[in-house]
Every structure is written in C-alpha cells, then in structure tokens.
C-alpha cells in the first residue's frame, strides 16, 4: 500500500511523522506547479474551486508515480470540501485509474465516522486503540509545535538583520522537532528550536508594518498559490500574523492553540458583522480581521480561492469591517489564471496605503504630544 496525501503547508512534515509512527509506506506528493494545475483544471468541473483542481492534478501525478491509496479529508458541509473526495474519485475512475480513495472524516461529523475512516488505513489488528490514541496525541502536539515555530518565523522575518536568517533558523528548528518522538522529546525539541530563534540577530527598533493574513486555509498555507506571501511580506519588512493553521483546524474543542483565540472568542469578535457559522474558515476570517484591527494592525490581506462560498460571504462582510474599523483590507481571489504581477502590484499598493496611514497617525500623535 503506497499512500499519497495532498500537500498543504506543514502537512507533509506531519505525514512523514505519522508514516514513521505507524510504519506506513507513503509517497511524497510533488509540489504544486503550473503543470499540475493544467492537469487538474482540464479534468475538474469548470466552476469547482481551486483546491479541488490543484489536488486533483497532484493526485494524477502521484498515481503516475505509483501510489495506490489516495487520502483526503471529508466533512459534512456546508463547505464544498466535504464532497471533494467523491468527485475526485469519480473523475479519476472515469479516467481509468485504479486506486483506493480513503476519505478521513473529521471528528465533527461523528467520532465513529472519524474512527472508522482511520481504521480503513490502520486496521485494528495492526494498531490497538490505546496505541492509536497515544501516537495521534503525540503527533498532535508536534503539529502545534510546528505551527508555533512558523508563527514565530512570520513575526520575525520582517525584522531580521541579515536576509534569510529566519528561514535558515526555521528549517533547522523544523528538523530538530521532526526528529523527536515521545512527548518529552517533543517538549525538549521545542525548547531547543525556540532557543535557535532567540539567537537570531533582530533589529527590533526598525519601523515596520503589522499585517494580518486571513482567508481560506489552502491558499493561505500553500506558497505556490499565494505567491509565497510570507516571504514576500517579510522581505518588505512587515511583521505578519496568520489566522489559519493546520494545528488549530485539527485541535479538538475549538481551542486554536496557535492563533491564540478560541472559536468562541473569534465568534464574539465577528459578532456585529457575521453572526453565524458559514462553513470553512469564513467566520474565522471575519473574527480574526476584527481582532487584528482592534490590536492595531496596519493592514489585512485576505486570500480566497475564486468562488469559495464561505470566503465570498466573508469578503462581502469585510468591506463593512474595513470601513467601520478603519483598516485597509485587500481581498485577493486566486484561481488557476491569477498572475503574480497583478497580485504583487495590489499588495504593494496596500503596503503604501498602510505606510501613509501609519505616518499620518504617528504625525498626529507627535503633534498632540508636542502641543500638550
């Protein structure tokens, strides 16, 4: 059984960890590229959203590399993601491919469906329930550490004294954590990895912008689709904070350990603007934008796949957030034809606007203090 899982941010690190724990044979999915998008958009329904097309393209590639088991996530809506697996399976079968599709249901569907879908990959005879729970909880704590390291890198990249220092530190830190196995080792690795960040030369006095990154998880996490926004903003001296993380999505009870605000707090922040769950990351996008605005961020960048249902609602609502809270918000909808130049021009305009707002504010503050 050769298992392939789609790519998304740190997911490949997590899959490697799970493969080691349960002794599974996995195949590294090739990174997203123009070629794979072409395959995906040719096969997928025309109005399906970008992640479906992208993942379909990489499934075709990985099947050609010899994978026989495709793993993807499920769900119970209302986001289209919950139906991806079924559509992709039908399309690939129509193409005459032979494979097994395993749809991992999230625990929110039902604990039983979650357990059953895991058991299709890891039968009872191979892994006992206590062992399964133990290993999964250890992986979960590792996922949280990975995402916390990335959060730190996002915050530091704009202030690094020498270009590339943060990326190098992040890579080293991820390697340190990836080696850890037990919970104790993971905790030690976390301390060691964080120490690695402590040694970085940082110019904390440098004037900088604070930018919030919100949106649909797939396009926010995948550098190919957001034109490597993390590093792009970092190079321009922006301190970035992100609302979506894999750890927050999989962590039980809506605790969001990496973002730092519980689902309840997010819903309360979104309250006057969006008052009900709309599936996907829609509510989180609005809530996080309000939180960022209240914390005095200078700008917010909102990424969404073209026609994404939850995010289109968030986008409509964000225009009201932007005008009422006075924060520039740029919504960028991404599809297979989005060009780098167009996105970068708009991002540069956003940063210029944020700088001019900031200098106006600083000037007003100086003037007030000088007058007093």
């Amino acid at each position: 059984m050769k298992i392939a899982v789609p790519r998304m941010g740190n997911l490949s690190l997590i899959i490697r960890d799970l493969a080691r724990r349960f002794d599974l044979e996995t195949l590294e999915t090739p990174p997203f590229s123009e070629q794979n998008m072409e395959i995906g958009s040719a096969l997928a329904p025309e109005f399906a959203c970008l992640p479906l097309k992208a993942v379909l393209g990489s499934f075709v590639q990985v099947l050609e590399m010899g994978a026989d088991t495709l793993v993807t996530g499920g769900g119970h809506g209302p986001c289209r993601f919950g139906y991806y697996g079924e559509i992709q399976k039908r399309i690939l079968e129509r193409e005459g491919r032979r494979f097994r599709m395993v749809v991992l249901e999230p625990p929110s569907v039902s604990i039983k469906a979650f357990h059953d879908s895991i058991r299709t990959l890891l039968p009872r005879q191979r892994v006992s329930l206590p062992a399964l729970l133990k290993e999964l909880s250890q992986t979960l704590s590792k996922v949280v550490v990975f995402d916390k390291l990335e959060k730190r890198a996002l915050a530091l990249r704009g202030l690094e004294a020498e270009p590339g220092a943060v990326d190098a530190a992040l890579e080293e830190a991820q390697a340190i954590v990836a080696r850890a196995y037990t919970r104790k080792e993971i905790e030690e690795a976390r301390l060691e990895a964080e120490a690695r960040f402590m040694q970085l030369p940082i110019e904390s006095g440098r004037p900088h912008l604070k930018v919030g990154l919100v949106g649909e998880i797939f396009v926010v996490l995948e550098p190919f689709f957001n034109f490597d926004i993390d590093r792009w903003l970092g190079r321009r001296g922006a301190v970035v904070e992100r609302s979506v993380n894999i750890a927050d999505t999989v962590f039980p009870m809506g605790r969001n350990p990496v973002f730092g605000y519980t689902e309840h707090a997010v819903a309360r922040a979104a309250d006057p603007y969006l008052t009900h769950e709309v599936g996907g990351d829609g509510l989180l996008t609005v809530g996080a934008s309000v939180i960022f605005a209240r914390r005095g961020f200078d700008a917010i960048v909102h990424f969404l796949p073209f026609t994404c249902m939850p995010e289109v609602i968030a986008k409509g609502v964000l225009s009201r957030v932007s005008s009422e809270l006075g924060i520039p918000i740029l919504s960028l909808s991404i599809d297979e034809q989005t060009g780098r130049a167009g996105v970068e021009t708009r991002l540069e305009a956003l940063l210029d606007l944020a700088w001019s707002n900031k200098s106006k504010r600083d000037f007003a503050a100086d003037y007030a203090s000088a007058g007093a």
């Binding site: 109005f47 399906a48 919950g82 697996g85 749809v103 009900h276 709309v278 249902m309 909808s333």
Partner: protein, 319 residues
C-alpha cells in the same frame, strides 16, 4: 409599519409562509416586484462581484425595497431537512445584506433550522413578532402557523396538472427556475416548444430522498440532495424525456452536484441531460438555440427509437 420581503432566493420556497406570518401580526408585508433587468444590474453593481447570480438578484430586490419599507425580513436558513445543511450563502445572507448598503432599513433575521427537531429557533421568530408589535398570544399563534406551514412544505410536493406530450425535467434552484427574468423565461420557452416542464418541487421529497440515498456519498446540502434525488428518479423511471440541469454562475453546490449527476447518469444510462449555466450576462438567443436543439433531438429520438435510449449510449450533451 411596512416590512419588506425580497422576491428572491428562498422566497420561492418559503415566501408564502413568511408573508402569511407578517399578515397574521397585522403588519403590512411588501413583497418586491418580479425581477427586472434593472434590478439585476443594480444588484450586480452593489453586491460582491464573486457571488452567484441569485445573490446579485437578491441584492437588486433589496435596493428596490430600500426606500419603500421600514424593515426587511431576511430569514437565515440553516437547514431545510433533517441531517442536512443549507448552502453557506443562505446562512450568511442577513449579514451580507447588512454590509450591502449602509442606508438599508433594519434587517430582521430569524433562523429557519428545520434539521433541529427541538425547534429552538422558533423563539427567534417569536421575538421578531413581539418586536413587530404582536401580542403574546398573537405572536405565538403566528409562529405556530409558520412552523406548521414550513413543516408541511418540507414533506409535500406541489401538485401538477396532468399533461400529455413530452415532459422535460428542469432540475435547478427554484429561485432560478421560477424567476422569469433571471432564467430568461426558461419554463415558458420549454412550454412554447410543445413540452411540459417538470420542476424539482413537483417531486415528492420522500421519493427524492429515497433515490438520493443510493448515491455513494451523501450530499449534505438539503436542496441539492432533493434535486439530485429528483433527477435520479426522473431518469430511472424514465418519467421525463430529457433533463435540463439549470445552475447559475459561481453556484458552489451546483458545480459539484452537476459533475456528480453527469457522472452518475453516465454510469447508469439515462435520458439525455443538458446543463444550462445562467449569469447576469446570459443572452436569450444562446439559450433559445440550445433549447431548440435539445428538444428537437428528443423529438427525433422519440420518433425513431420510441423514446428509449440504449444504456450508456445516451447522448448526454453538456456545455
């Protein structure tokens, strides 16, 4: 006090009950006029450019109501059937409406959550009716009547007059199909070509549910599940000669359910299926040509093969 109801989106499902609810409270209900081209243009300009056609039509109706009423009723539909969810657009509609235009009258947004067997959402309707000046007893009876109506709507199909001749199944959202302007008069055109259109609301929900349950993965959107079940029922019983799948540009559930149905019908061999995608730029000529071609094809195949198609060899034209 005048409360507006936009004649768009789920008005085509539940509108009569909403109007009745307001009238029971002694409030004047103002339902916007039938969609016009100007409304669609105004809606497309004001609403977010990525939303689907029905939301743009809805926005046009909201702008029409803006000057004419003191409040608008935009219920938040969370589910239409037990064990299903509604499209996210229905869940976020009141919030989208509020950010459409700062000068809009207050938006009343009680929930409809028919999947919730405890009916806790009925309280929201009660508070709305109290806020509209209903007495305790009057509000309670208005809410009870609304619940009764919605519940009846959930299990009943609208009855159709018996018709001879060719029947065409029109599978699409009611707010697209029953909106004369948005669908470019699709139903009337089908009638004009000598065929009888059958819409999804004419299929018994229980029958549709039975057929939808045969799919390999449950469709979790309430209306789409019913639609897919109706299409499978028509196709399996050969009760229609052909099926038109009507969807709108950027319809999220439609994009996947359309692909699913094409695949499923292709596998089991079905009556011909044609997909029609509506948007605010749709031109009549293109629609008429395709409809004529489709119906001519059905008529010809009926003459030659007695209306039967070989399984698997069905000319399932799409585009």
């Amino acid at each position: 006090m005048r409360v507006g109801i936009p004649r768009a989106m789920l008005f085509h499902h539940y509108g009569e009950y909403w109007r009745h609810f307001l009238e029971n409270l002694g409030v004047e209900a103002v339902v916007s006029e039938a969609t016009t081209g100007d409304m669609i243009t105004a809606g497309a300009v004001h609403a977010d450019n990525e939303t689907c056609l029905p939301v743009k039509v809805f926005s046009g109706h909201m702008l029409w109501l803006k000057e004419r009423v003191d409040a608008v009723l935009v219920p938040r539909v969370i589910s239409e059937q037990y064990g299903t969810v509604a499209c996210p657009k229905f869940m976020g509609l009141p919030d989208l409406t509020r950010s459409l235009d700062p000068d809009l009258p207050p938006v009343l947004s009680p929930s409809i959550h028919l999947g919730d067997r405890r009916y806790l959402w009925a309280r929201e309707w009660y508070s709305v009716s109290r806020a509209l000046g209903g007495t305790r007893l009057g509000s309670a009876s208005a809410v009870a009547e609304l619940l009764y109506g919605l519940e009846k709507h959930r299990v009943q199909a609208i009855t159709q007059p018996q018709a001879d001749g060719m029947k065409i199944g029109v599978a699409g959202h009611l707010y697209n199909v029953h909106d004369h302007r948005a669908s470019l008069g699709l139903l009337d055109r089908v009638r004009g070509m000598g065929a009888t259109p059958i819409t999804v609301d004419q299929v018994l929900p229980s029958r549709a549910r039975m057929h939808a349950a045969t799919l390999s993965r449950k469709i979790f959107w309430g209306y789409e599940s019913r639609l897919a079940g109706a299409v499978l029922y028509w196709s399996r019983t050969r009760s229609v000669s052909g099926i038109l799948f009507v969807t709108s540009f950027a319809c999220g559930p439609g994009s996947l359910v359309g692909a699913l149905l094409e695949d499923q019908l292709g596998r089991e061999g079905s009556v011909p299926l044609m997909t029609i995608t509506l948007d605010e730029h749709s031109a009549e000529a293109g629609l008429v040509t395709r409809l004529e071609a489709f119906i001519d094809m059905l008529k010809r195949s009926k003459r030659t093969a007695g209306g039967q198609f070989a399984p698997g060899g069905a000319p399932g034209g799409t585009g």
